[in-house]
Amino acid sequence: MSRASGTASSEKATTSRDVPQLRPRDLLSKDDCLEIFKQVYLARYFDVRLIKEKRRGRLKGTLYSSHNQEAILVGALFGLESNDWISPIHRDMPAFFLKDIKGDWRRPDRFGMSINEVCAQVWGKADSPGRARDNWSHIGSRSKHIIHSTSMLAGTIPVAAGLMYADRLNGGNAVCVTFNGEGSTAQGIFHEAINYAAVHKLSVVTVVENNQWAYGTPMELGCPTSDVADRAKGYGIPGFIADGQDVFDVYDKVMMAVEHARKGNGPSIVECKTFRAYGHGDHDDDRANKYRPQEEIVKGRQRDPIGVCRRTLMALGYLGDDAAELYHAEGKNATEATNEDFPPEVVDFLNEGIEFALQSPLPAAEEAGRWVFKEDN
């Protein structure tokens, strides 16, 4: 059983395309890189804080932690254009506010959800975009270019493909990035949709977060090859492999896939190798410590994406040697980490969202009968 996580080398990076001389990351400014670092912290803080809120009994619903997978979300979203589309799923809650967040995080006109909307959704309040009809990650926003998922795994890939077909007809040049776990690649619709997208060269980038486990089932019982990216060959499309712990490697591979699509060459798969830090959901934390060998957990969490990013920035000279001392969240789990371990602007940003959610009302019960069909006004 070899489930080496986070060990994917960049050399193995592309199965169908060569790594360009100048990598997409080489075009990032110092400010961009520092922003990326802060976003990784933001994604981590969101997760840590929600776990704490849930443990304090202030949240309901199942929490699917993205701890240890933040580099995938930040790296995949950072280079997208404002009007590109995304389709996050259960483990990608931070993606809803990370989309198009670059610059002023509170910009009202940006193409991503505000932290207020996301928190209102998590807390099940009327100010959530879906007015708390469905839970947690089952939201989206047509105006913000986020596809609304259901529970049914891989179910949004055909939607993304149809959307990109229509976008092209409408004269657009958008790309849609969908997120899926490695387990979800076993669904028929995963293949059916990518096949269709490949036939029509549709701009769908399928990011596969390969965290080695699908609930209580290890990767080898769901996938016949150790690299999900290998499936791309069957559709004649690029299959990239990224080190999911390294935000810059994810950024490189996703941007290569995005550029491929932008030029009209169609879909790609970007597999990001990572490891699920906790249980499948918070209800599964205790069991996951039993069905997964301890050594595997320790190994899988060895390369915290915060630390990988920090070391890259230090090597680039973007962070001084004392940066290691600045914040202390790196390597800490949700019990160990406190507010002091995060940049203050990150903590403030989420605090505002939570305040907003707490004062937002519950939707009125009678709303339950509405919008089964379109309503005029």
Binding site: A132, M152, Q187, G216, P218, P363, E367
Partner: protein, 337 residues
Amino acid sequence: MSAVANPTQIVKKNYVTAIREALFEEMALNPDMICQGEDIGILGGAFGVTEGLQAEYGASRVIDMPISEACIVGSAVGMALAGKTVMAEMQFIDFISCGFDQIVNMMATYCYRTAGEVNMPVVVRGPAGAYGGGALYHSQMNEAWFCNSPGLKVICPSTPYDAKGLMKAALRDGNPCLFFEIKELYRKREVEELLPEEDYVIQLGKAAVRRSGKDITFVSYGQNVYHCLQAADELAKLGVDAEVIDIRTLVPLDEDTIFTSIAKTSRLIVVNEAPMTCGFAGEIIARVSEKAFEYLDAAPVRITRLDTPVPWVKPLELYVLPSVEKIVAAALKTVKY
């Protein structure tokens, strides 16, 4: 078997244990039985229904499947073709939609289109039902889709005793059965009961009278049976004596028990948590209207979910679902009809 039963001590068992015992016992009795589903082996199932089963019977008979409901059902059909009996788990019954074609077109019709050459001893089971805040895709009762697909038996137990006896009957029936387990009942203390030590089955197509009364008949299944019983208690205080019938299996349906009751009470309310339009409550009322019309003194009533999905947050969820209050109010109106 030892993993679940403790013969030295007689204790009440919950609903999930009853189902688990049925699986353990049938696996022991039938070496040709296979269990398959997502996370049922190493994990023991999302709800622990198959806990310990793989340790007892091995990974070749208790199979952790890739996440493909279509394949979980479709491969069960293939196994049945080779003479196996299969329990196929849907992690939530809501996800059964992803295996729909293999169920209604491949499995359900197999016996019919082969003129009886091939039968399908397959039980597709999974946690179902609302009232737990599971939202749109973890709350469904989609039994009507399958009642409307000839060739499938449809079962929905409300007690541990029934859950075990019906599960065993389904696994021995030789026909494809859909088994709706009420997840809100899995570990509910109030419904725990003593189970017989010896092997038993409950015949498919036999309803149970849960409370006898003379003024009005409530027909229901699943967790709504308890809503009906509570409503009956409320109504008793108001001088209305309600009879509560738990049909237990939808296909086949025990019409006689329903008709016999209505012959006595002349009034009927059917309660189920699935949406109203084309739901099973409508089917029961249609049969009563066709075959027992003359017994009725009042228009029969359906109390069901509104024709909406199940929304997430509590006030919205409760708004769309049947409740004790809704049943009591409808009963008071019906007895005055």
